[in-house]
Amino acid sequence: MTSQVSSPAEQADEAVLGELGEQRKPAGTKDVRRLDRVIIRFAGDSGDGMQLTGDRFTSETASFGNDLSTLPNFPAEIRAPAGTLPGVSSFQLHFADHDILTPGDAPDVLVAMNPAALKANITDIPRGAEIIVNTDEFTRRALQKVGYTTSPLDDGTLDAYHVHPVPLTTLTVEALKDYGLTRKEAERSKNMFALGLLSWMYHRPTEGTEKFLKTKFARKPDIAAANIAAFRAGWNFGETTEDFAVSYEVAPAATAFPPGLYRNISGNLALSYGLIAASHQADLPLYLGSYPITPASDILHELSRHKNFGVRTFQAEDEIAGIGAALGAAFGGSLAVTTTSGPGVALKSETIGLAVSLELPLLVIDIQRGGPSTGLPTKTEQADLLQAMYGRNGEAPVPVLAPRTPADCFDSAIEAARIALTYRTPVLLLSDGYLANGSEPWRIPEPGELPDLTVQFAQGPNHTLDDGTEVFWPYKRDPHTLARPWAVPGTPGLEHRIGGIEKQDGTGNISYDPANHDLMVRTRQAKIDGIDVPDVEVDDPHEARTLVLGWGSTYGPITAAVRRLRAAGESIAQAHLRHINPFPKNLGTVLQRYDKVVIPEMNLGQLATLIRAKYLVDAHSYNQVNGMPFKAEQLAAALKEAIDG
C-alpha cells in the first residue's frame, strides 16, 4: 500500500500562518543523515517546562506523520526543590518511519537542562548517544547540590558520549534582549530554545509550535513573541553553529498507518472522548462523579470542558460521594461514571458492591498507579487487578477490562459502557499512569463506525400474577443477558424500591430466605460469567511452543519484545487480554495449545494467579514493579529465557 501524508501546513489557514513564520527549512549546507527511528529524552527541573517541550515536539512529530510513543515521567511534588534529583522531570519520545510500540528503551539523545537532570538520567543513556547540556546551569553550587565534586563536562565522565555543550540560558537571554523582559522572564523561554534546536536537528515542522505559542499566550502577545523568538533562535543556532554538523531525517511512517484522519492522543484524553462518544451512542446524558486524584484528574478536567454535550461533572467531597453521585445518576437514567486511582477504588468498594446488588450500569475507571497506600502517585503499575476482581465484601462479581495503548482507551471506554448498559452492572476499567499520560497517533473514527449502544428503559408491566394482574417486577431478568429492567424514576406505574439488602428473585422485595440468597448470588455470578466478549486473538505465525500472555498497558513492550525475538529467529506466540472478567471463552483452549505460558506484569503476578486458578495452567510470571513500563530489550531477554528454559 502506498500512502502519502499531507502536513497541516497544507491544511491550515494560510492567513493565520502568514503572520507566523513560514516552515523553516535548512539551507542545505550541512550533512543530513536518514534514520529509521530516534529516541529523545528531555530532562530538566520540574519548573523548566520539560513536559510542555516534550508535548510540542510530539505534536510536531505527529503532524509530520511519524509513528510515535511517549513517556512523560515527573515527580509527585509540584515544585520539588530546584536543581535537586527528586525535582527532575523528563519526557521521552520515540518516533520512527515505521510502526513502533513503546517509548523506547534507551535514548539516542538526552537534553539535560541542569546537572540534576544529567545525573538522574545518565544511567539510562547508552554510550555513543548525543547529550545536549545547558552549560549555564553547571555552576559549582548546582553541581554540589547533586553530589558532583567535579564537573562531568570536564572530568571525562562523559567521554563515551557525544556531548554538545550549549549555553542555553545565555543564548536565550541574548536572543530576547530586545523584548523588554527581565532576565528571569527571558530565562523561562530556554525550553523553547531547546525545542527549536531539536526541531532543527530532526527536521520537525515548526509552524505548529509557533501557532500554538501564539494561541497559548494570546492575552500576552509580548510573551508569545518572546517564546517564538527563542524557538527560532534555537533553530537558527543549530543551523549556524559548527558544533551541530549533522541533522537527521526520519521519514513519515507512510505505510504504518491505514488511511484516515489522524491525531496524536494521550490515554486520558482518549478515555474522556470515549466516554462522550459512548454517551452519544447510547443517547444517554453522561454524568461523572469524581474526586481529584493523580493520575485520573485529567479526565475530570477534560469532561468538565464539554458541558455543551450535556455532560454533567460533579466534583464530590470525597471518593465515596463521587461514586455515590454517579450511582444516583445511574438510577435516574444517566450513563454514569466515576474516575479514580487505586486508593479511590478502595474507598468506593462498598458502593461498587451496592451497584452490584442494585444491578445498575456504572463505569468505575481506575487509572492505576504505584501502591499500596499513597504509593507512587505519578508512576505506573498494574497492581489493582485483584482489587478490581475481588475487593468487595460478599460475592460481588464485576466485569473487568483494560485498554492496551493510549488510543485504545477510546475503544475500551465504549466497550466498558456497552457491557455496563447491556448487563446493568458496574464495570471496572483498568487504565494506568503509563497509558494515561503517554500518547500515540490515533486514527479518528467516523461516528458511523461506532457501535450502537442504545438502551430500552422499562416502560410498563413485565409480569402477570396468577390472578391475571399485570405488575412490574424490577428483578425479572432478560433470559439471554440476565439483565434486569432499567426502570427510571418518572415512569408511571413502575414505582419500585431497590436496595442493598438481599432481594427476592423477580419481585425485588426484601428477602432473607436462604434458598433465595443462594439463587441470587449464583444468578449475579452467572450474569457476569455470561457476558459476551470477543475471543482472544493469538499472533502465532510459526506455531511456537511458548505463549506470552499480557493484559493492559504491557501490550507495547511485549509486542516490541516479540518482534525482536522473531527477528532473531525465535518462535513465540503472543496473546493480549482486554477482557479479564469474564475471560474470553476461547482462552482455555488457547492456553492448552502451548507448552509454556509466560505472563509479564507490572505487579507480582496477579493475572498469573487468576489464570493458574481458573485454567490449572502452570503459567510463569515475569514481574516488574519499579513504577516504569517494561523495556522491550529486557522483556525480550526474559522471554528468550522462557523459550530456552
Binding site: H306, A321, G499
Partner: protein, 366 residues
C-alpha cells in the same frame, strides 16, 4: 422588618405543587390520597416506634403536594429510619450507611423533574455520613433531608450515637459515653444550610407544617425530627411531649412572631445586651418590646444559630422547634443546568465528529 423578607420561598399552606422548588416536577393527573403512597410492603419497625408516626405524617402530607407519584424518590442510608423508602409507594433506594445524601445529589442534579427526599438517622447522617451531609447542605442541592434523631443506635441494638447526651450508659459505654453530642440544627446552620427546621414525631400537625415548608424550599432542606426509640432510648423526648412539661420546655418558632413560650406565654427570648447571646426571661411590660421576633428569612445565620443553642443538651429544656432558618440562595442543580445551557449558547451543541478531530490532525491517504 421580618414581614417584608418572606421572599420567594413560598409561604406555607398554599399546597398543591405551585412552589418554586417543585416547579419542574410533573403534577399528578388525579387527586391523590394517603392510600396512594402506601406500598404493599409490611412495615417492620418495632411496635410503638416513633417512625410509624412519621411515616403516616409523610404519607398523609404527600397528596397535598399534588406531584406525580412516579416523580418522587426517597433515598435512605442504613439504620431503622432508612427502611422508610420500602414503605412509600414511590421510587426509592435503600442504599449504604451514610451515603444517601451523595446518591441523592447525583439523582437530583441529573433529574430536575424529580422531588428527591433523603431519610436518615442520627448515626447515619452525623457519624458515618457526616461529610456527605455537610457538603449537601453547603451546596444547596434540591434535596429534602429528614433526619430522624432518636439519640441512639437502634438497628445495632443500643450503642450511643453522636447526638446522645454525655455520660450515656449503653452497651458500648457501660461507664458512660465521653463525647460531646452534635446539635444537628447548629451543625446544619454552621454548614451553610439554607433551610433548617426541627419537629417532633408525635406532633403530626407541627410535623406536617414543617414538611410543607421544607418541600417548598428551593435547595437543601434539613428537618430534624425527634423520634422516640421505645426499645433502646424510650422517653428521650418525653419532656417535649408531656403537655404540662412541654409548655415550659418547648419554644415554638413561628416566622414573624415574638418568641414566647411557657404557661400563658409568660416567657420570652431576648438578646443579652452585654454578650449578644440569647436568653429566656419572664416577660414584663418593661421588657416586652425586647422579645425577639423570629425572622427565619434573615440572611445572617447568627440568630438562628443562637436559637439552636438555647436547648440544654442533657435535659432538652428550652428546645426550639419549627423553622430556624429559611433563606434563598442559588440552587446547585439549577446552576449546573444553567452552565450546560450556557455552554451550548457559547460553543453550540456538542458535535462528536468535530470534538474527536480537534487539535492538530493529519491525513493518511491510501
Amino acid at each position: 422588618m421580618a414581614e417584608t423578607t418572606t421572599g420567594a420561598t413560598g409561604s406555607s399552606g398554599e399546597g398543591s405543587g405551585t412552589v418554586e422548588a417543585l416547579s419542574l416536577v410533573p403534577k399528578a393527573e388525579a387527586r391523590q390520597s394517603m392510600k396512594d403512597f402506601k406500598s404493599d410492603q409490611e412495615v417492620r419497625w418495632c411496635p410503638g416506634c416513633g417512625d410509624y408516626a412519621i411515616l403516616a405524617a409523610v404519607q398523609g402530607f404527600m397528596p397535598e403536594l399534588g406531584l406525580a407519584r412516579e416523580n418522587i424518590v426517597f433515598v435512605s442510608g442504613i439504620g431503622c429510619s432508612s427502611r422508610f423508602p420500602y414503605y412509600m409507594n414511590t421510587y426509592g433506594m435503600h442504599s449504604i450507611h451514610g451515603r444517601a445524601p451523595a446518591i441523592a445529589t447525583g439523582l437530583a442534579t441529573s433529574r430536575r423533574d424529580l422531588s428527591v427526599w433523603v431519610v436518615t438517622g442520627d448515626g447515619d447522617a452525623l457519624s458515618i455520613g457526616g461529610n456527605h451531609l455537610i457538603h449537601a447542605l453547603r451546596r444547596n442541592v434540591n434535596l429534602k433531608i429528614l433526619l430522624f434523631n432518636n439519640r441512639i443506635y437502634g438497628l445495632t441494638k443500643g450503642q450511643y450515637s453522636p447526638t446522645s447526651e454525655v455520660g450515656k450508659i449503653t452497651k458500648s459505654t457501660p461507664m458512660g459515653s465521653l463525647d460531646a453530642p452534635f446539635n444537628p440544627v447548629s451543625l446544619a446552620i454552621g454548614a451553610e444550610a439554607t433551610f433548617v427546621a426541627r419537629t417532633v414525631d408525635s406532633d403530626r400537625k407541627h410535623l406536617t407544617d414543617v414538611l410543607r415548608q421544607a418541600a417548598a424550599h428551593p435547595g437543601t432542606a434539613l428537618v430534624e425530627i425527634y423520634q422516640n426509640c421505645n426499645i433502646f432510648n424510650d422517653g428521650a423526648f418525653d419532656i417535649l411531649k408531656d403537655r404540662r412539661q412541654a409548655e415550659e420546655a418547648v419554644i415554638r418558632l413561628e416566622h414573624g412572631q415574638p418568641i414566647r413560650f411557657g404557661t400563658d406565654h409568660a416567657q420570652g427570648i431576648v438578646r443579652d445586651e452585654t454578650t449578644g447571646d440569647l436568653k429566656a426571661v419572664t416577660v414584663t411590660p418593661d421588657n416586652e418590646a425586647r422579645v425577639l421576633v423570629h425572622d427565619a428569612h434573615t440572611p445572617s445565620p447568627t440568630t438562628a444559630f443562637a436559637l439552636s443553642r438555647l436547648a440544654d443538651p442533657d435535659t432538652l429544656h428550652h428546645t426550639p422547634i419549627g423553622v430556624f432558618r429559611s433563606v434563598d440562595r442559588p440552587v446547585y442543580d439549577t446552576q449546573m443546568a444553567d452552565q450546560l445551557e450556557q455552554a451550548v449558547e457559547m460553543n453550540g451543541k456538542g458535535d462528536l465528529s468535530s470534538l474527536l478531530a480537534g487539535g492538530d490532525t493529519w491525513t493518511v491517504v491510501g
